[in-house]
Symmetry: C2
Subunit: 141 residues, 2 copies
DNA sequence: GACTACATTAGACACAGTCCAAGTCAAGAT
DNA sequence: ATCTTGACTTGGACTGTGTCTAATGTAGTC
């Protein structure tokens, strides 16, 4: 994520303190924060940062393909910095925690021609659902 | 969908005019209305029906497993009456229209053990994306 | 160091959905 | 057929998530 700021500048974006802290917050594996979580973490480092700027910056990063937008629950969108390696998501049905996963095989090929309704099909996203180890332990069964 | 009302009554639900019109609106293949679209169509048949009742009824139908909740775009949830036959969704990236589709093969088996992070995995949803015939024709390429 | 176009800010606004107190009514009891 | 009652419906207030705007600030260039 560190060279992300360089890539931004290369595309004509100004390097501001706000963009830097948003990029810093979105660093790591299995990171899937909501915009408000990003705002909270960014505020800890740069108290004056505003909500609008966080939304703006997240939108820019998504448009540039540096960050993925994920909506696994119909509530707030989540932002996934792991955009340069194709992956899907495994979500805990109890606590909502998310892991990045790599299925095997070609997803697109699972949709037969007779089920394509004339669409030019170009992509597929999978959300696997289950119970995470923590929840399984805490609530048994 | 017609016997749905009987099933509801069998489960102790009162048969009201409001529930009837919501059930009627949610009838057909490839139907995926938002709550507001359901409200609009229900209002055409029963002008006094309220937004809260539409949301209540949709929630009941979902809880009973008679209707599926689908969120393909992070905006309003959509309601899919085709709940008794397993299927996935094919969504047009331009106009958002949705078709019900049946992939072949077992989705769960595409996630290798080493990618399960200790989760007990129980389900998977796929959203295929592409361009529908109408949009392909209208906007070329 | 000054300039200026791009970026940030606070707050108003919009949309999707939930909650509540009061009134209404379906369906069983009589 | 009417009564009774608890479930159902209603309108409106409220919450959470996200967008827009006008005014102000500032990164990068000269």
């Amino acid at each position: 994520m560190s060279d992300l700021l360089e890539r931004l500048r290369g595309r004509g974006f100004r390097l501001t303190a706000q963009r830097r802290v948003v990029a810093e917050v979105l660093d790591g594996d299995h990171v899937h924060y909501t915009a408000d979580e990003v705002l909270a973490r960014a505020t800890a480092r740069l108290p004056e940062i505003s909500r609008a700027t966080v939304y703006n910056t997240l939108g820019e990063l998504v448009a540039l393909g540096e960050v993925l937008e994920v909506s696994t629950d119909g509530r707030a969108k989540r932002y996934d910095p792991n955009a340069h390696s194709a992956h899907q998501h495994l979500v805990c049905s109890r606590c909502g925690s998310i892991r990045d996963v790599r299925p095997e095989g070609d997803l697109l090929s699972t949709l037969p021609e007779g089920e394509r309704f004339g669409f030019r099909v170009s992509g597929a996203e999978v959300t696997y659902r289950g119970i995470c180890p923590d929840c399984a332990e805490r609530r048994g069964k």
